[in-house]
């Protein structure tokens, strides 16, 4: 299954896809478009990816976290395209026998996806639009 989608994410379906009868804990992280960023109002975000590479890089993150937490089942979907405030951009589900490793795995998956996966966002608001992170990358 693809880690990327152009449709709204069905978090409940994602959760069911990994929950085993032996699992007692499910931790779900949802990233949501919020109405501000670094002091500026945000109305919408366009998410774009280098798709084949993003699929591979999310896969690398998932496999690496699975290796650290062998008892945790992991599912990820990242949405691309035009999202407005309140829309969910990413859902990560980690389910496991016990909760401690589900929390820890979920946290690691989102932290690492944010660091390494070639996905970008252009924020649009009343003051115009901007590719996040580009201005400050000047040197």
């Amino acid at each position: 299954m693809s880690y990327l989608t152009d449709q709204p994410i069905d978090a409940a379906a994602l959760e069911r896809s990994v929950l085993l009868r032996a699992h007692g804990a499910s931790v779900v992280f949802a990233g949501v478009v919020r109405d501000h960023h670094e002091g500026k109002a945000v109305e919408s975000i366009d998410y774009e990816a280098y798709r084949p590479m993003a699929e591979k890089e999310i896969g690398i993150v998932v496999e690496s976290v699975r290796a650290s937490f062998p008892d945790v089942a992991v599912a990820v979907q990242h949405r691309l395209g035009h999202l407005v405030v309140g829309d969910v951009s990413i859902v990560i589900v980690c389910s496991s026998v016990h909760r401690a490793e589900a929390f820890e795995a979920c946290r690691q998956v989102i932290d690492r996806i944010k660091q390494t996966v070639p996905i970008w966002k252009k924020e649009r608001g009343p003051d115009g639009e901007e590719w996040v992170g580009w201005q400050s990358a000047q040197c």
Partner: protein, 81 residues
Amino acid sequence: MKVRLLFFAVLRDLTGKAEALLDLPEGTRAVDVWNQLRGEYQSLAGYRHPPLAAVNEQYALPEQRLHDGDDLAFIPPVAGG
């Protein structure tokens, strides 16, 4: 040698292209392509250090030498999640 250069996000906006087919001398490195872009596009002049590079869908060092048939992409600061 031929290298396909892919543009994403801010770089696609700035160049107005999704990709370009480059004809490069043997031994060209990713950073050399970046410096060529900086010469062509005024808006990139302030970016002396290249963003991360990817060759054939894998992260690569700026000094990596390119080969015929490679896909090269510069990866502006990522912001997924």
